[in-house]
Protein backbone atom coordinates (compact mmCIF):
# COMPACT_ATOMS: atom_id res chain seq x y z
CA UNK A 1 0.00 0.00 0.00
CA UNK A 2 1.40 3.30 -1.06
CA UNK A 3 5.11 3.42 -0.83
CA UNK A 4 7.79 3.94 1.67
CA UNK A 5 8.83 7.24 0.14
CA UNK A 6 5.49 8.69 1.11
CA UNK A 7 6.00 7.57 4.68
CA UNK A 8 9.42 9.13 4.60
CA UNK A 9 7.87 12.40 3.44
CA UNK A 10 5.35 12.21 6.24
CA UNK A 11 8.09 11.55 8.75
CA UNK A 12 10.20 14.33 7.30
CA UNK A 13 7.34 16.79 7.42
CA UNK A 14 6.54 15.70 10.94
CA UNK A 15 10.13 16.29 11.92
CA UNK A 16 10.27 19.67 10.24
CA UNK A 17 7.04 20.70 11.88
CA UNK A 18 8.28 19.41 15.18
CA UNK A 19 11.34 21.62 15.00
CA UNK A 20 9.22 24.49 13.76
CA UNK A 21 7.15 23.97 16.82
CA UNK A 22 10.27 24.46 18.90
CA UNK A 23 10.36 28.09 17.74
CA UNK A 24 7.19 28.96 19.57
CA UNK A 25 7.47 31.77 22.06
CA UNK A 26 7.68 29.48 25.03
CA UNK A 27 10.14 27.19 23.24
CA UNK A 28 8.07 24.21 24.30
CA UNK A 29 7.95 21.65 21.52
CA UNK A 30 4.58 20.26 20.63
CA UNK A 31 4.27 16.61 21.49
CA UNK A 32 4.23 13.98 18.76
CA UNK A 33 1.23 11.76 18.97
CA UNK A 34 -0.33 8.78 17.22
CA UNK A 35 -4.10 9.00 17.56
CA UNK A 36 -6.07 5.81 17.67
CA UNK A 37 -9.47 4.93 16.26
CA UNK A 38 -12.26 2.74 17.49
CA UNK A 39 -15.17 1.43 15.45
CA UNK A 40 -18.71 1.03 16.71
CA UNK A 41 -21.91 0.00 14.96
CA UNK A 42 -25.51 0.87 15.54
CA UNK A 43 -28.94 0.78 13.95
CA UNK A 44 -30.30 4.30 14.17
CA UNK A 45 -28.53 4.80 17.45
CA UNK A 46 -29.13 1.38 19.00
CA UNK A 47 -25.78 -0.37 19.45
CA UNK A 48 -25.29 -3.61 17.52
CA UNK A 49 -23.48 -6.23 19.60
CA UNK A 50 -22.43 -9.77 18.79
CA UNK A 51 -25.58 -11.15 20.42
CA UNK A 52 -27.73 -9.09 18.04
CA UNK A 53 -26.53 -10.90 14.92
CA UNK A 54 -29.14 -13.32 13.61
CA UNK A 55 -31.42 -12.53 16.55
CA UNK A 56 -32.37 -8.85 16.70
CA UNK A 57 -34.76 -7.71 14.01
CA UNK A 58 -34.55 -4.32 12.41
CA UNK A 59 -36.85 -2.55 9.98
CA UNK A 60 -35.24 -0.71 7.13
CA UNK A 61 -36.47 2.50 5.55
CA UNK A 62 -38.37 0.60 2.88
CA UNK A 63 -40.16 -1.45 5.50
CA UNK A 64 -38.47 -4.83 5.32
CA UNK A 65 -37.87 -6.62 8.60
CA UNK A 66 -34.38 -8.02 8.64
CA UNK A 67 -31.67 -9.58 10.74
CA UNK A 68 -27.95 -9.17 10.27
CA UNK A 69 -25.49 -12.05 10.14
CA UNK A 70 -22.23 -10.50 8.98
CA UNK A 71 -20.67 -7.06 8.83
CA UNK A 72 -17.11 -6.69 7.60
CA UNK A 73 -15.70 -3.60 5.93
CA UNK A 74 -12.46 -2.04 4.84
CA UNK A 75 -11.29 1.49 5.52
CA UNK A 76 -8.07 3.05 4.31
CA UNK A 77 -6.00 6.19 4.06
CA UNK A 78 -6.90 7.83 7.34
CA UNK A 79 -5.68 11.37 6.77
CA UNK A 80 -4.97 14.28 9.12
CA UNK A 81 -4.98 17.71 7.51
CA UNK A 82 -3.84 20.73 9.46
CA UNK A 83 -5.02 24.32 9.10
CA UNK A 84 -2.26 25.03 6.60
CA UNK A 85 -3.44 22.23 4.35
CA UNK A 86 -0.60 19.87 5.16
CA UNK A 87 -1.81 16.29 5.06
CA UNK A 88 -0.45 13.33 6.97
CA UNK A 89 -1.37 9.77 6.20
CA UNK A 90 0.37 6.44 6.53
CA UNK A 91 -1.76 5.12 3.69
CA UNK A 92 -2.53 1.98 5.63
CA UNK A 93 -5.82 0.14 6.03
CA UNK A 94 -7.97 -1.69 8.51
CA UNK A 95 -10.41 -4.53 7.89
CA UNK A 96 -13.09 -4.60 10.57
CA UNK A 97 -15.17 -7.65 11.42
CA UNK A 98 -17.92 -6.13 13.52
CA UNK A 99 -19.65 -9.37 14.50
CA UNK A 100 -16.46 -11.09 15.57
CA UNK A 101 -15.05 -7.95 17.16
CA UNK A 102 -11.88 -8.06 15.09
CA UNK A 103 -9.88 -4.88 14.48
CA UNK A 104 -12.31 -2.64 16.32
CA UNK A 105 -9.31 -0.58 17.36
CA UNK A 106 -6.76 0.75 14.94
CA UNK A 107 -3.81 3.08 15.18
CA UNK A 108 -2.54 4.30 11.80
CA UNK A 109 1.20 4.18 11.39
CA UNK A 110 1.62 7.93 11.43
CA UNK A 111 3.03 10.40 13.94
CA UNK A 112 1.78 13.98 14.03
CA UNK A 113 2.16 16.94 16.29
CA UNK A 114 -0.65 17.54 18.68
CA UNK A 115 -3.08 20.13 17.39
CA UNK A 116 -6.31 20.43 15.49
CA UNK A 117 -6.72 18.50 12.28
CA UNK A 118 -9.42 17.68 9.84
CA UNK A 119 -9.70 13.88 9.94
CA UNK A 120 -10.90 11.82 7.02
CA UNK A 121 -10.69 8.28 5.70
CA UNK A 122 -11.61 6.28 2.64
CA UNK A 123 -14.35 3.69 2.76
CA UNK A 124 -12.92 0.75 0.82
CA UNK A 125 -9.96 1.21 -1.47
CA UNK A 126 -9.55 3.88 -4.06
CA UNK A 127 -8.45 2.65 -7.47
CA UNK A 128 -4.77 3.13 -6.72
CA UNK A 129 -4.91 1.00 -3.61
CA UNK A 130 -7.31 -1.50 -5.12
CA UNK A 131 -4.70 -2.32 -7.74
CA UNK A 132 -2.29 -3.54 -5.08
CA UNK A 133 -1.67 -7.12 -4.00
CA UNK A 134 -1.92 -7.67 -0.26
CA UNK A 135 -1.27 -11.19 1.04
CA UNK A 136 -3.03 -10.36 4.31
CA UNK A 137 -6.18 -9.30 2.47
CA UNK A 138 -5.84 -12.27 0.13
CA UNK A 139 -5.99 -14.37 3.28
CA UNK A 140 -8.62 -12.32 5.11
CA UNK A 141 -12.18 -13.54 5.59
CA UNK A 142 -10.92 -17.02 4.90
CA UNK A 143 -9.38 -15.88 1.64
CA UNK A 144 -12.62 -14.65 0.12
CA UNK A 145 -12.19 -10.90 0.61
CA UNK A 146 -10.76 -10.79 -2.91
CA UNK A 147 -12.98 -9.80 -5.82
CA UNK A 148 -12.70 -12.09 -8.85
CA UNK A 149 -11.05 -10.58 -11.89
CA UNK A 150 -14.20 -11.02 -13.94
CA UNK A 151 -15.77 -8.48 -11.56
CA UNK A 152 -12.88 -6.12 -11.87
CA UNK A 153 -10.53 -7.62 -9.29
CA UNK A 154 -9.33 -5.83 -6.21
CA UNK A 155 -11.05 -6.30 -2.89
CA UNK A 156 -14.43 -6.10 -1.27
CA UNK A 157 -15.18 -2.83 0.49
CA UNK A 158 -17.90 -4.33 2.64
CA UNK A 159 -19.88 -7.50 3.23
CA UNK A 160 -23.17 -6.84 4.96
CA UNK A 161 -25.24 -9.98 5.08
CA UNK A 162 -28.41 -11.15 6.71
CA UNK A 163 -31.96 -12.22 5.99
CA UNK A 164 -35.14 -10.28 5.41
CA UNK A 165 -38.72 -11.38 5.79
CA UNK A 166 -40.43 -11.76 2.46
CA UNK A 167 -44.07 -11.06 3.21
CA UNK A 168 -45.10 -11.53 -0.39
CA UNK A 169 -44.86 -15.31 -0.25
CA UNK A 170 -47.34 -17.69 1.36
CA UNK A 171 -46.24 -18.51 3.92
CA UNK A 172 -43.87 -15.64 4.58
CA UNK A 173 -40.25 -16.64 4.05
CA UNK A 174 -36.79 -15.58 5.13
CA UNK A 175 -34.57 -14.58 2.24
CA UNK A 176 -30.84 -14.06 2.48
CA UNK A 177 -29.34 -10.80 1.36
CA UNK A 178 -25.73 -10.02 0.53
CA UNK A 179 -25.11 -6.29 0.42
CA UNK A 180 -21.57 -6.53 -0.90
CA UNK A 181 -19.89 -3.26 -1.82
CA UNK A 182 -17.06 -3.36 -4.35
CA UNK A 183 -15.80 -1.19 -7.18
CA UNK A 184 -18.63 -0.77 -9.70
CA UNK A 185 -18.05 -2.92 -12.74
CA UNK A 186 -19.79 -3.82 -15.95
CA UNK A 187 -18.23 -6.79 -17.66
CA UNK A 188 -20.70 -6.72 -20.53
CA UNK A 189 -18.38 -4.19 -22.13
CA UNK A 190 -14.95 -4.88 -23.52
CA UNK A 191 -12.81 -3.95 -21.81
CA UNK A 192 -14.69 -4.12 -18.53
CA UNK A 193 -16.11 -0.78 -17.36
CA UNK A 194 -14.92 0.15 -13.88
CA UNK A 195 -15.84 3.02 -11.62
CA UNK A 196 -14.24 3.79 -8.30
CA UNK A 197 -17.04 3.63 -5.75
CA UNK A 198 -14.93 4.11 -2.68
CA UNK A 199 -15.67 7.41 -0.97
CA UNK A 200 -14.08 9.76 1.46
CA UNK A 201 -15.61 10.23 4.89
CA UNK A 202 -14.93 13.60 6.50
CA UNK A 203 -15.01 13.36 10.28
CA UNK A 204 -14.52 17.09 10.74
CA UNK A 205 -11.97 18.91 12.84
CA UNK A 206 -10.59 17.11 15.84
CA UNK A 207 -8.30 18.42 18.59
CA UNK A 208 -5.65 15.76 18.81
CA UNK A 209 -3.39 15.33 21.79
CA UNK A 210 -1.76 12.60 23.77
CA UNK A 211 -4.02 9.55 23.98
CA UNK A 212 -6.67 10.86 21.62
CA UNK A 213 -9.02 8.17 20.43
CA UNK A 214 -11.52 8.91 17.68
CA UNK A 215 -14.65 6.83 17.52
CA UNK A 216 -15.96 6.07 14.06
CA UNK A 217 -19.62 5.14 14.20
CA UNK A 218 -21.44 3.23 11.48
CA UNK A 219 -25.20 3.55 11.38
CA UNK A 220 -26.08 0.40 9.47
CA UNK A 221 -29.63 1.63 8.83
CA UNK A 222 -28.21 4.42 6.66
CA UNK A 223 -27.02 1.89 4.06
CA UNK A 224 -30.72 1.36 3.30
CA UNK A 225 -31.90 4.91 3.67
CA UNK A 226 -30.26 7.99 2.28
CA UNK A 227 -30.42 9.22 -0.44
CA UNK A 228 -31.76 5.96 -1.90
CA UNK A 229 -34.43 3.97 -0.13
CA UNK A 230 -33.19 0.43 -0.54
CA UNK A 231 -35.73 -2.16 -1.64
CA UNK A 232 -34.44 -5.55 -0.57
CA UNK A 233 -37.03 -7.33 -2.69
CA UNK A 234 -35.29 -5.94 -5.74
CA UNK A 235 -31.73 -5.61 -4.48
CA UNK A 236 -31.00 -8.49 -2.15
CA UNK A 237 -28.24 -10.38 -3.86
CA UNK A 238 -26.12 -10.65 -7.00
CA UNK A 239 -25.16 -7.04 -6.39
CA UNK A 240 -21.46 -7.37 -7.13
CA UNK A 241 -21.91 -7.43 -10.92
CA UNK A 242 -24.71 -4.84 -10.68
CA UNK A 243 -23.03 -1.58 -11.70
CA UNK A 244 -25.95 0.62 -10.72
CA UNK A 245 -26.40 -1.08 -7.37
CA UNK A 246 -22.76 -0.36 -6.54
CA UNK A 247 -23.31 3.30 -7.34
CA UNK A 248 -26.37 3.36 -5.07
CA UNK A 249 -24.43 1.70 -2.25
CA UNK A 250 -21.64 4.21 -2.59
CA UNK A 251 -24.03 7.14 -2.54
CA UNK A 252 -25.88 5.77 0.47
CA UNK A 253 -22.57 5.17 2.21
CA UNK A 254 -21.45 8.71 1.57
CA UNK A 255 -24.86 9.95 2.59
CA UNK A 256 -24.33 9.62 6.29
CA UNK A 257 -23.47 6.06 7.28
CA UNK A 258 -20.38 7.19 9.17
CA UNK A 259 -20.04 9.79 11.86
CA UNK A 260 -17.63 10.69 14.62
CA UNK A 261 -18.51 9.70 18.14
CA UNK A 262 -17.21 10.90 21.50
Amino acid sequence: MKNHSFKIVVTFLSTVLLFSGCKDNDDTPLAEVSPSFSFTHNWDGVPIQNADYETTTYVNEHGETLTLSKLMYLISDITFTDAQGNSFSAGDYNLIDAREGVNLSFTPDVVIQEGTYNVSFTFGFDDEDNAGDYPDLNTADGGVWIVPMMLGGGYHYMKLEGKYLNTQTVPESQVGFAYHAIRANDNSTSPITLQDTSFTVDLGDVAIGEGTNIEIQMNVAEWFKNPHTWNLYELFSMLMPNFNAQILMSENGAGGVFSRGN
Partner: protein
Amino acid sequence: MLKNGIYGILILVAAACMGDDTQTYTATPAELDIPPFFESSILPPEIPRDNPLTVEGIALGKALFYDPILSANNTQSCASCHLQSGSFSDPNQFSVGIDGSIGTRNSMPLFNLAWNRRGPFFWDGRAATLEDQIFEPITNPIEMANTWSNAVAALQNSGTYPDLFDAAFGSTTIDSVKVSKAIAQFVRTLISGNSKFDRYLNGVEDLSPAEERGMNIFLDETRGDCFHCHGNPMNPLWTDNRFHNNGLDEFFTDRGLGAVTGDPRDDGLFRTPSLRNLAFTAPYMHDGRFNTLDEVIDHYSNGLVYSETVSPLLKKIAEGGVQLSSEEKADLKAFLLSLSDPSFTTDSEYQPN
Protein backbone atom coordinates in the same frame (compact mmCIF):
# COMPACT_ATOMS: atom_id res chain seq x y z
CA MET B 1 9.23 -18.92 3.31
CA LEU B 2 10.19 -20.20 6.70
CA LYS B 3 13.85 -19.76 7.21
CA ASN B 4 16.37 -21.93 8.90
CA GLY B 5 17.47 -19.01 10.99
CA ILE B 6 14.03 -18.51 12.43
CA TYR B 7 13.77 -22.18 13.25
CA GLY B 8 17.17 -22.10 14.81
CA ILE B 9 16.14 -19.28 17.12
CA LEU B 10 12.88 -20.99 17.99
CA ILE B 11 14.63 -24.25 18.75
CA LEU B 12 17.22 -22.51 20.89
CA VAL B 13 14.47 -20.73 22.79
CA ALA B 14 12.52 -23.96 23.13
CA ALA B 15 15.61 -25.80 24.30
CA ALA B 16 16.32 -23.14 26.87
CA CYS B 17 12.84 -23.55 28.27
CA MET B 18 12.89 -27.33 28.46
CA GLY B 19 13.95 -29.53 31.31
CA ASP B 20 17.32 -31.09 31.90
CA ASP B 21 16.62 -34.15 29.80
CA THR B 22 16.20 -32.04 26.66
CA GLN B 23 19.34 -29.98 26.90
CA THR B 24 20.95 -32.06 24.15
CA TYR B 25 18.10 -31.33 21.74
CA THR B 26 19.68 -31.31 18.31
CA ALA B 27 16.87 -31.94 15.88
CA THR B 28 17.46 -30.57 12.41
CA PRO B 29 15.28 -27.62 11.38
CA ALA B 30 13.08 -28.33 8.40
CA GLU B 31 11.19 -26.15 5.96
CA LEU B 32 7.89 -26.67 4.26
CA ASP B 33 8.11 -27.09 0.52
CA ILE B 34 5.77 -24.24 -0.30
CA PRO B 35 4.61 -23.81 -3.92
CA PRO B 36 5.73 -20.41 -5.23
CA PHE B 37 2.19 -19.27 -5.93
CA PHE B 38 1.18 -19.97 -2.34
CA GLU B 39 4.13 -17.96 -1.15
CA SER B 40 3.35 -14.95 -3.28
CA SER B 41 -0.39 -14.85 -2.84
CA ILE B 42 -1.30 -15.64 0.76
CA LEU B 43 0.21 -15.33 4.20
CA PRO B 44 2.62 -18.09 5.20
CA PRO B 45 1.60 -20.89 7.55
CA GLU B 46 1.77 -20.22 11.25
CA ILE B 47 3.88 -22.97 12.76
CA PRO B 48 3.35 -23.24 16.52
CA ARG B 49 6.31 -21.86 18.44
CA ASP B 50 6.28 -24.93 20.64
CA ASN B 51 6.31 -27.34 17.73
CA PRO B 52 8.77 -26.20 15.09
CA LEU B 53 9.25 -28.44 12.10
CA THR B 54 12.28 -30.69 12.23
CA VAL B 55 13.51 -33.42 9.95
CA GLU B 56 13.41 -35.93 12.79
CA GLY B 57 10.02 -34.78 14.02
CA ILE B 58 8.47 -35.11 10.57
CA ALA B 59 10.01 -38.58 10.11
CA LEU B 60 8.69 -39.65 13.49
CA GLY B 61 5.29 -38.23 12.68
CA LYS B 62 5.14 -40.16 9.43
CA ALA B 63 6.10 -43.38 11.20
CA LEU B 64 3.38 -42.83 13.77
CA PHE B 65 0.81 -41.86 11.14
CA TYR B 66 1.19 -45.22 9.42
CA ASP B 67 1.68 -47.39 12.53
CA PRO B 68 -1.31 -49.31 13.99
CA ILE B 69 0.53 -49.36 17.32
CA LEU B 70 -1.53 -46.33 18.36
CA SER B 71 -4.81 -48.28 18.28
CA ALA B 72 -6.04 -50.46 21.11
CA ASN B 73 -5.68 -53.73 19.21
CA ASN B 74 -2.90 -52.77 16.84
CA THR B 75 -5.12 -52.92 13.80
CA GLN B 76 -5.60 -49.27 12.80
CA SER B 77 -3.38 -46.35 12.07
CA CYS B 78 -4.23 -42.78 11.10
CA ALA B 79 -3.72 -43.90 7.50
CA SER B 80 -6.51 -46.46 7.82
CA CYS B 81 -9.05 -43.65 7.53
CA HIS B 82 -6.82 -41.12 5.79
CA LEU B 83 -5.62 -42.88 2.67
CA GLN B 84 -3.15 -41.10 0.44
CA SER B 85 -4.99 -42.40 -2.62
CA GLY B 86 -8.01 -40.50 -1.34
CA SER B 87 -6.09 -37.32 -0.68
CA PHE B 88 -5.79 -38.60 2.87
CA SER B 89 -9.51 -39.10 3.29
CA ASP B 90 -11.65 -42.23 3.47
CA PRO B 91 -13.58 -43.51 0.44
CA ASN B 92 -16.15 -44.93 2.81
CA GLN B 93 -19.02 -42.67 3.81
CA PHE B 94 -18.22 -43.30 7.45
CA SER B 95 -15.00 -44.74 8.77
CA VAL B 96 -15.07 -48.01 10.65
CA GLY B 97 -13.40 -48.22 14.05
CA ILE B 98 -11.28 -51.07 15.39
CA ASP B 99 -14.30 -52.92 16.73
CA GLY B 100 -16.52 -52.33 13.73
CA SER B 101 -18.13 -49.20 15.13
CA ILE B 102 -19.33 -46.81 12.45
CA GLY B 103 -18.70 -43.08 12.66
CA THR B 104 -21.17 -40.35 11.80
CA ARG B 105 -19.07 -38.12 9.61
CA ASN B 106 -16.93 -38.54 6.55
CA SER B 107 -13.20 -38.44 7.17
CA MET B 108 -11.83 -35.05 6.14
CA PRO B 109 -8.96 -35.03 3.66
CA LEU B 110 -5.59 -33.87 4.92
CA PHE B 111 -3.70 -31.33 2.85
CA ASN B 112 -2.66 -27.70 3.11
CA LEU B 113 -3.72 -27.69 6.75
CA ALA B 114 -0.65 -25.63 7.59
CA TRP B 115 -2.59 -22.71 6.11
CA ASN B 116 -5.56 -23.16 8.37
CA ARG B 117 -3.68 -20.55 10.29
CA ARG B 118 -5.98 -19.92 13.19
CA GLY B 119 -7.90 -23.18 13.10
CA PRO B 120 -10.16 -24.67 14.21
CA PHE B 121 -10.16 -28.22 12.87
CA PHE B 122 -12.64 -31.04 12.28
CA TRP B 123 -15.95 -30.61 10.46
CA ASP B 124 -17.38 -29.02 13.61
CA GLY B 125 -14.35 -27.04 14.71
CA ARG B 126 -14.00 -28.81 18.02
CA ALA B 127 -10.19 -28.85 17.91
CA ALA B 128 -8.44 -25.50 18.24
CA THR B 129 -5.16 -26.69 16.76
CA LEU B 130 -3.85 -29.46 14.59
CA GLU B 131 -2.13 -30.93 17.61
CA ASP B 132 -5.45 -30.96 19.46
CA GLN B 133 -7.13 -32.60 16.50
CA ILE B 134 -4.61 -35.41 16.50
CA PHE B 135 -5.24 -36.13 20.17
CA GLU B 136 -8.78 -37.30 19.64
CA PRO B 137 -8.95 -40.31 17.27
CA ILE B 138 -6.54 -42.35 19.37
CA THR B 139 -8.90 -42.39 22.33
CA ASN B 140 -12.21 -42.07 20.48
CA PRO B 141 -14.12 -45.28 21.33
CA ILE B 142 -15.47 -45.63 17.80
CA GLU B 143 -12.12 -45.07 16.18
CA MET B 144 -8.81 -46.33 17.58
CA ALA B 145 -10.37 -46.86 21.02
CA ASN B 146 -7.10 -46.76 22.89
CA THR B 147 -6.03 -44.99 26.06
CA TRP B 148 -3.11 -42.67 26.03
CA SER B 149 -1.38 -44.63 28.76
CA ASN B 150 -1.62 -47.80 26.67
CA ALA B 151 -0.51 -46.08 23.50
CA VAL B 152 2.43 -44.41 25.19
CA ALA B 153 3.42 -47.65 26.92
CA ALA B 154 3.37 -49.52 23.62
CA LEU B 155 5.59 -46.90 22.03
CA GLN B 156 7.90 -46.78 25.02
CA ASN B 157 8.33 -50.56 25.00
CA SER B 158 8.94 -50.77 21.28
CA GLY B 159 12.42 -51.32 19.94
CA THR B 160 12.47 -48.26 17.74
CA TYR B 161 10.34 -45.44 19.03
CA PRO B 162 12.37 -44.29 22.05
CA ASP B 163 15.28 -43.53 19.76
CA LEU B 164 13.03 -41.80 17.23
CA PHE B 165 11.54 -39.61 19.96
CA ASP B 166 15.02 -38.91 21.26
CA ALA B 167 16.06 -37.75 17.81
CA ALA B 168 12.99 -35.60 17.42
CA PHE B 169 12.58 -34.17 20.90
CA GLY B 170 15.83 -34.86 22.72
CA SER B 171 14.41 -37.39 25.11
CA THR B 172 13.56 -41.07 25.00
CA THR B 173 10.64 -40.40 27.32
CA ILE B 174 7.45 -40.56 25.30
CA ASP B 175 4.20 -38.82 26.07
CA SER B 176 0.97 -37.97 24.31
CA VAL B 177 1.98 -34.39 23.65
CA LYS B 178 5.07 -35.47 21.74
CA VAL B 179 3.04 -38.00 19.75
CA SER B 180 0.55 -35.35 18.68
CA LYS B 181 3.31 -32.86 17.92
CA ALA B 182 5.18 -35.31 15.72
CA ILE B 183 2.09 -36.33 13.75
CA ALA B 184 1.13 -32.67 13.37
CA GLN B 185 4.57 -31.94 11.93
CA PHE B 186 4.09 -34.65 9.32
CA VAL B 187 0.55 -33.54 8.49
CA ARG B 188 1.77 -29.96 7.96
CA THR B 189 4.08 -31.24 5.23
CA LEU B 190 1.10 -32.59 3.24
CA ILE B 191 0.95 -29.87 0.63
CA SER B 192 -1.03 -30.07 -2.57
CA GLY B 193 -0.19 -27.41 -5.14
CA ASN B 194 0.27 -29.08 -8.50
CA SER B 195 -3.15 -29.34 -10.05
CA LYS B 196 -3.84 -28.57 -13.67
CA PHE B 197 -5.27 -25.25 -12.53
CA ASP B 198 -2.08 -24.48 -10.59
CA ARG B 199 -0.10 -25.13 -13.73
CA TYR B 200 -2.53 -22.91 -15.64
CA LEU B 201 -1.86 -20.13 -13.15
CA ASN B 202 1.84 -20.72 -13.57
CA GLY B 203 1.45 -20.31 -17.32
CA VAL B 204 2.58 -23.78 -18.25
CA GLU B 205 -0.74 -25.37 -19.19
CA ASP B 206 -3.98 -24.20 -20.74
CA LEU B 207 -7.46 -24.87 -19.50
CA SER B 208 -9.86 -26.60 -21.84
CA PRO B 209 -12.78 -24.49 -23.09
CA ALA B 210 -15.12 -26.39 -20.73
CA GLU B 211 -12.83 -25.78 -17.75
CA GLU B 212 -12.61 -22.10 -18.61
CA ARG B 213 -16.38 -21.81 -18.92
CA GLY B 214 -16.69 -23.68 -15.64
CA MET B 215 -14.35 -21.23 -13.94
CA ASN B 216 -16.51 -18.35 -15.12
CA ILE B 217 -19.62 -20.06 -13.75
CA PHE B 218 -17.81 -20.63 -10.45
CA LEU B 219 -16.92 -16.94 -10.21
CA ASP B 220 -20.17 -15.55 -11.55
CA GLU B 221 -22.41 -14.26 -8.78
CA THR B 222 -25.44 -14.67 -11.00
CA ARG B 223 -24.73 -18.33 -11.77
CA GLY B 224 -22.54 -20.61 -9.64
CA ASP B 225 -21.39 -18.02 -7.11
CA CYS B 226 -19.17 -20.64 -5.50
CA PHE B 227 -16.38 -18.21 -4.72
CA HIS B 228 -17.91 -16.64 -1.65
CA CYS B 229 -17.12 -19.76 0.37
CA HIS B 230 -14.57 -21.60 -1.73
CA GLY B 231 -12.32 -18.75 -2.83
CA ASN B 232 -10.96 -17.80 -6.19
CA PRO B 233 -7.84 -18.15 -8.29
CA MET B 234 -5.97 -15.67 -6.11
CA ASN B 235 -6.27 -18.00 -3.13
CA PRO B 236 -4.86 -21.49 -3.71
CA LEU B 237 -6.61 -23.05 -0.71
CA TRP B 238 -10.08 -23.19 -2.33
CA THR B 239 -11.78 -22.96 1.05
CA ASP B 240 -12.47 -20.15 3.46
CA ASN B 241 -11.88 -22.56 6.37
CA ARG B 242 -15.04 -21.12 7.90
CA PHE B 243 -18.36 -22.58 8.90
CA HIS B 244 -21.58 -22.46 6.94
CA ASN B 245 -24.95 -24.12 6.73
CA ASN B 246 -25.07 -25.00 3.05
CA GLY B 247 -28.72 -25.93 2.87
CA LEU B 248 -28.54 -29.69 3.27
CA ASP B 249 -31.34 -30.25 5.78
CA GLU B 250 -34.43 -28.60 7.17
CA PHE B 251 -33.81 -30.18 10.57
CA PHE B 252 -30.50 -31.20 12.07
CA THR B 253 -29.59 -34.60 13.40
CA ASP B 254 -26.02 -33.34 13.64
CA ARG B 255 -25.73 -29.79 15.00
CA GLY B 256 -22.13 -29.44 13.80
CA LEU B 257 -20.48 -26.28 15.11
CA GLY B 258 -23.55 -25.58 17.25
CA ALA B 259 -22.91 -28.67 19.36
CA VAL B 260 -19.41 -27.37 20.06
CA THR B 261 -20.19 -23.73 20.81
CA GLY B 262 -23.64 -24.26 22.34
CA ASP B 263 -24.82 -21.32 20.27
CA PRO B 264 -28.00 -22.14 18.32
CA ARG B 265 -26.85 -19.69 15.66
CA ASP B 266 -24.17 -22.24 14.83
CA ASP B 267 -26.52 -25.20 14.43
CA GLY B 268 -26.02 -27.03 11.18
CA LEU B 269 -22.80 -25.21 10.36
CA PHE B 270 -19.81 -27.21 9.14
CA ARG B 271 -16.36 -26.25 8.00
CA THR B 272 -16.03 -25.52 4.29
CA PRO B 273 -13.98 -28.27 2.66
CA SER B 274 -11.40 -27.40 0.05
CA LEU B 275 -12.30 -28.00 -3.56
CA ARG B 276 -8.84 -29.30 -4.25
CA ASN B 277 -8.59 -32.99 -5.05
CA LEU B 278 -12.31 -33.59 -5.44
CA ALA B 279 -11.38 -36.32 -7.90
CA PHE B 280 -10.12 -38.32 -4.93
CA THR B 281 -12.23 -37.28 -1.96
CA ALA B 282 -15.67 -38.76 -2.63
CA PRO B 283 -18.06 -39.13 -0.93
CA TYR B 284 -18.85 -35.50 -0.22
CA MET B 285 -20.29 -33.34 2.58
CA HIS B 286 -19.71 -33.79 6.28
CA ASP B 287 -21.80 -36.93 6.28
CA GLY B 288 -20.66 -38.22 2.93
CA ARG B 289 -24.20 -38.20 1.61
CA PHE B 290 -23.25 -37.49 -1.97
CA ASN B 291 -21.33 -40.16 -3.83
CA THR B 292 -20.54 -38.12 -6.89
CA LEU B 293 -19.59 -34.60 -7.80
CA ASP B 294 -22.67 -34.50 -10.01
CA GLU B 295 -24.82 -34.96 -6.93
CA VAL B 296 -23.01 -32.11 -5.20
CA ILE B 297 -23.56 -29.76 -8.13
CA ASP B 298 -27.21 -30.85 -8.33
CA HIS B 299 -27.57 -29.97 -4.65
CA TYR B 300 -26.43 -26.39 -5.16
CA SER B 301 -28.35 -26.13 -8.41
CA ASN B 302 -31.76 -27.32 -7.27
CA GLY B 303 -31.57 -29.23 -3.99
CA LEU B 304 -31.11 -26.53 -1.35
CA VAL B 305 -33.31 -26.71 1.71
CA TYR B 306 -34.12 -23.79 3.99
CA SER B 307 -33.38 -23.82 7.69
CA GLU B 308 -33.02 -21.02 10.17
CA THR B 309 -29.23 -20.88 10.08
CA VAL B 310 -28.79 -21.39 6.35
CA SER B 311 -26.18 -19.12 4.80
CA PRO B 312 -27.61 -15.89 3.35
CA LEU B 313 -25.24 -16.45 0.46
CA LEU B 314 -27.48 -19.22 -0.84
CA LYS B 315 -29.54 -16.59 -2.57
CA LYS B 316 -31.86 -18.72 -4.65
CA ILE B 317 -32.84 -21.11 -1.93
CA ALA B 318 -36.53 -20.48 -2.53
CA GLU B 319 -36.01 -21.94 -5.99
CA GLY B 320 -33.88 -24.77 -4.66
CA GLY B 321 -30.61 -23.34 -5.94
CA VAL B 322 -28.85 -21.53 -8.74
CA GLN B 323 -30.61 -23.52 -11.48
CA LEU B 324 -27.67 -24.38 -13.66
CA SER B 325 -28.31 -25.93 -17.06
CA SER B 326 -26.90 -29.37 -17.78
CA GLU B 327 -24.20 -27.75 -19.92
CA GLU B 328 -23.28 -25.38 -17.10
CA LYS B 329 -23.12 -28.26 -14.66
CA ALA B 330 -20.79 -30.17 -16.95
CA ASP B 331 -18.56 -27.13 -17.37
CA LEU B 332 -18.49 -26.44 -13.65
CA LYS B 333 -17.55 -30.05 -12.97
CA ALA B 334 -14.74 -29.85 -15.51
CA PHE B 335 -13.37 -26.79 -13.78
CA LEU B 336 -13.64 -28.33 -10.32
CA LEU B 337 -11.76 -31.41 -11.46
CA SER B 338 -8.98 -29.18 -12.80
CA LEU B 339 -8.25 -28.38 -9.15
CA SER B 340 -7.25 -31.98 -8.46
CA ASP B 341 -3.62 -32.85 -8.05
CA PRO B 342 -2.80 -36.49 -8.87
CA SER B 343 0.85 -35.99 -7.97
CA PHE B 344 -0.22 -35.42 -4.36
CA THR B 345 -1.90 -38.80 -4.07
CA THR B 346 1.16 -40.62 -5.35
CA ASP B 347 3.95 -38.56 -3.82
CA SER B 348 6.45 -41.00 -2.35
CA GLU B 349 7.47 -38.42 0.25
CA TYR B 350 4.20 -39.07 2.01
CA GLN B 351 4.40 -42.84 1.87
CA PRO B 352 5.67 -45.00 4.71
CA ASN B 353 9.36 -45.82 4.66
